[in-house]
């Protein structure tokens, strides 16, 4: 089968022929019908994470936002059959550790990050194997196409988990979203769906326009003004603020956007400029009782909630898709992220 492989950091991914994977006893193989292209792929491709000994190894098949159809089922799998339409998260759990058993499979003690480590080759490929399928894989309702499901992960589900489970979001609260790429626009949709009001922040007007279309009540162009000060002025400070990008600048601006008692949620991982660390105003955070919460993906067990919100007509992940790609275009689209030259979510639909 064809697959896009990381052969050299920063050099175009190579489209290679690989053996089709086979299912572990507890796993399934999914024929990929759609797979999102994401800034995390770009981080991997650029070799970020070296500072944390967390760079993706050369030889890895990338791709971590798949949806498709089951084509092979392991012996011990009880919930899936060949032909089932499914969604697959990027953060895979073993389904049996204490975290997996308490709704925190996104932080599994023995978890995998699909498409980022050799044990779990990614989904920029015709087929992808998924371990512990009864735990990780989810039946996709008819109303959610493969393309929409690809748009869910990892960005939409990350925004959903952050706002539905991590932040103490109240009715009518102001939510600041710093960075209106895929995660940020997802957050705009989710926050609006949950009865909050959104102030969207970005340095690109077209991203802000997209945010406004998806429900943001206010937009702030951070290239023209001090974003934090502007959020304070416009809405009296945010109750909840998200760094949906991952840089010292957006992280700081997000924390400083908060009103007293407010909550920042960190979604984005940093680039090699920060090497994983950001200087934060801890005295200010102490005096104003601010909270800084890390949030990672979403537990595989939370898909039903997400589908429920879609079913309620409140959010539309498909609306984030700005472009459909063939596998051959992936190398070039990753490169386009160098200067933030993409917008919304691009999805591979041809393998």
């Amino acid at each position: 089968m064809r697959a896009a492989v990381l052969r050299e950091y920063g050099e175009p991914l190579r489209i290679e022929e690989r053996d089709r994977p086979t299912a572990a006893p507890h796993g399934v193989v999914v024929e990929v019908e759609a797979c999102g292209v994401c800034r995390s792929d770009w981080h991997a491709w650029r070799g970020h994470g070296e500072w944390a000994d967390d760079d993706v190894p050369l030889g890895q098949v990338l791709g971590h936002e798949p949806a498709g159809r089951v084509v092979e089922v392991g012996d011990r799998v009880t919930e899936f059959a060949v032909g089932d339409d499914v969604a697959v998260p990027f953060c895979l759990g073993d389904g049996s550790c204490p975290r997996c058993l308490s709704g925190h499979g996104n932080r599994c003690e023995n978890g995998y990050a699909l498409g980022f480590e050799p044990a779990v080759p990614g989904a920029f490929a015709e087929c992808v194997a998924v371990p512990h399928a009864d735990y990780n894989v989810t039946h996709r309702p008819e109303s959610v196409s493969a393309r929409a499901a690809a748009a869910l992960g990892c960005r939409f589900m990350t925004a959903f988990h952050a706002l539905a489970h991590r932040a103490p979001l109240g009715a009518g609260d102001w939510v600041a979203v710093h960075g209106c790429g895929g995660v940020g626009l997802s957050a705009v949709q989710v926050a609006s769906a949950l009865g909050a009001r959104v102030v969207a922040v970005d340095i690109r007007d077209d991203a802000l326009d997209a945010a406004a279309r998806m429900g943001a009540a206010e937009t702030v162009n951070a290239s023209e003004t001090d974003a934090a000060a502007e959020v304070q002025k416009r809405v009296g400070g945010a109750h909840v603020s998200l760094d949906a990008l991952g840089s010292a600048e957006t992280c700081r601006a997000s924390v400083e956007s908060l009103r007293s008692g407010g909550t920042h949620v960190q979604l984005g991982l940093t680039t090699d400029a920060e090497a994983g660390e950001v200087r934060l105003p801890t005295d200010y955070m102490t005096r104003h009782e601010l909270s800084f919460l890390g949030s990672r993906g979403m537990s595989p067990t939370s898909y039903d909630e997400l589908f429920a919100l879609i079913d309620a007509g409140e959010v539309d992940p498909g609306a984030l898709v700005t472009r459909e790609l063939s596998l051959d275009e992936v190398p070039e689209r990753l490169a386009a992220m160098d200067d933030y030259g993409t917008s919304g979510v691009e999805v591979v639909t041809e393998f």
Copy 2:
């Protein structure tokens, strides 16, 4: 000034001439521009509550859902001036007890129920005095008319408090609303605004039609089927269910509508058929870890959240208003509630 007075339980309220009230040092007087007519008025008028030594005394001016303009301000009041547009809740606090100071002024240790006790004559009158105004009264944003503010209380605010503060409402949850009068329709609006899906239950098709217009995804006519069983069948049981009416039947049906781990919120007070008590399936509730939460009105300190939700465009209390009345029509409209002959919210706008 003219006022509608309770002279005999079950006999038409009398429109009488009364002295205009004066402001206490900590209070204000509000010229009433709009005041809702509500099932609680009907309970008072019918003399319910006797079993709990809680019947409203004869001679009381009724009316507890006012909005208007400040016409007199006490010496110690710092937040209001003559001419201010305001909203007034029915559950008034003293603003200084531990409950008032922790966001629970709706359960003030020394609270008043406006329009239900001699110390606080009601707002079916040209003017109404409100004690502890800095605590109880709220500035009304321009976007909220007196008519809409009257529609907020007590019904809309009761539904809001129940869903925003009492019930642990999750994204995409199913909320069953038993009884689609003013409180119930408010709950349909609020639940939808917060990203939940609603199954509305009533015995009147027109009430169910109104619920559907306000966002209910499913409707169940309880005169035709076992409502609890139907909710279980349609949506697998509700995560949250409200008794928005107040009868043994709706209360039981609501509890039995829940899925395992679900939460019932009791909003309605019972009639003299129940005399304040309902037989509940405690073993069933224990085995399935159901929760039964009482919820009363809303703290005066929560108005800002409610206005924020309106500002977000998520709810529209004014849409509940089905009819505007003159003060002279109040006696007849109360009587019409005997056989549930009203729908939505009726508001007095002419005094």
Copy 3:
């Protein structure tokens, strides 16, 4: 092997010879070293639950509070080996449904109640089979003897779950415990360990003495006074109150013991006098925003927290044990519960 079997409701259990159970692929067999005797056994033996089609069938081996040593291990079990010291809860989950995967295995969609249904014969026997062992069974730390572990379940774990997970217990809160049998005394220990103050209620002075020894600051003899009124008078109403017995009287007294905004937790199942239902003061609960929470056992996934509390030196389940029994004494000890003639926890240690 020898086992105590229910042959006729209300007639002495029969000690019979049964085949030793074998392990399912996902299960283990545990040699029972200790097993508590409990009011739930008495309910089963008396045939209660008929009203809910929930009476325990004749032929059942009773016993649901075992601890012991693993003697056989199924093929697919990965966490246990022959010889391991273990604790076993009474509410067994399948380990794979959404509730099991979110920390609520005590309400598993396909759960079993050990010792109450034919699929899972109980532990008044030399050996007991436990299905889905990786999920349900827990390694017992050396510091927790089989006798102490037997004292944990179901009573101690029920009290723990109620106070640690269900009730919103605050520092220094007053907790009323209605009924000072095994569950109640456990609750006294747990509440004290968590920084609360306890007012214990019972009709037997010796039970109240035991409660005082285990940390209750106040005791109320309900045979001499109106318990709810006395709790209100002594401590200004409880923040949290438990019905640790299960009768209309204790349930009502518990609810009426609460201060405004307080939380009642229902632990006990009723007898055939109530047939599963209790009349509750719903208007009063609504006005004062009381909460009524059902609570059932404890999820198997919570054992570690319980062991942590024991390790912290904060609670001592073994202190509840008032008597060690041989299997042959079980029939007589059950009968002694007819008139509440037992106290604390009795444990079978000889089979």
Copy 4:
């Protein structure tokens, strides 16, 4: 009256004669019977906070942990009379803003920091004036002496608020306390009282000995080992960890002490080495869903909970007092903090 005044940063406080304060209409004057000496006084005296335009002005009477007796009462005060024994917090609210009315008076929109700003001269003096007394001042139960009440604030109350209200502390959780001065030892007491297990970290063996006496199960000397790594090794990472000192080193060590999903609470303000900012491992915090919560003092409305915990016999603030001082000794004792030459809590009892 005599008072200790800041005349030059880093130079000994001057004991001067000042006019006795008078009570505002909403305030009281308290004759100081005891007042703690605290690291915050030292920060003020050293002129820290300049970076945030938050240095204490010259001429300020310091002292922010008073207890005493009411000697003058303003006209509008209703809850206090001359002769009442009281406790006074350092973070004073206006009692009327939304934060004060929702239990967050420690973050009042118009609040004062007693003893740190000209509007509220401190309590290293014979008398101290307290504004908005009905909100800020609390009656002291007989069981709490002035000396014990002085030991409560600001340190004990800060630890209490952090653990009782901010951190999601669970039964049996491991709590790491970094820095075992007054705040840290208070935290050891409170965490133990709430059923948690404590691992105490400091660089001084005598401080660790004190922590062990107050209930710490484990102690780590950070001068001998990597504190975070040691906490990870000993207890598998803390569920909750506090920086009770305020330095880049303790803050980082605390965050890195956490297990996945854990919560750090920042109590200490930094010195001029950090100038209010600390570099934090945001990627790590994101991947492991760590939380960083600022926590400031305690709302005046929470005293009753604190007194309840003392009444429960669970904590003993008086045990923190290591030395009683006269006012004349204050300058020297502040200086002794330069090299952490004090331990526990020192209290001025002679004025």
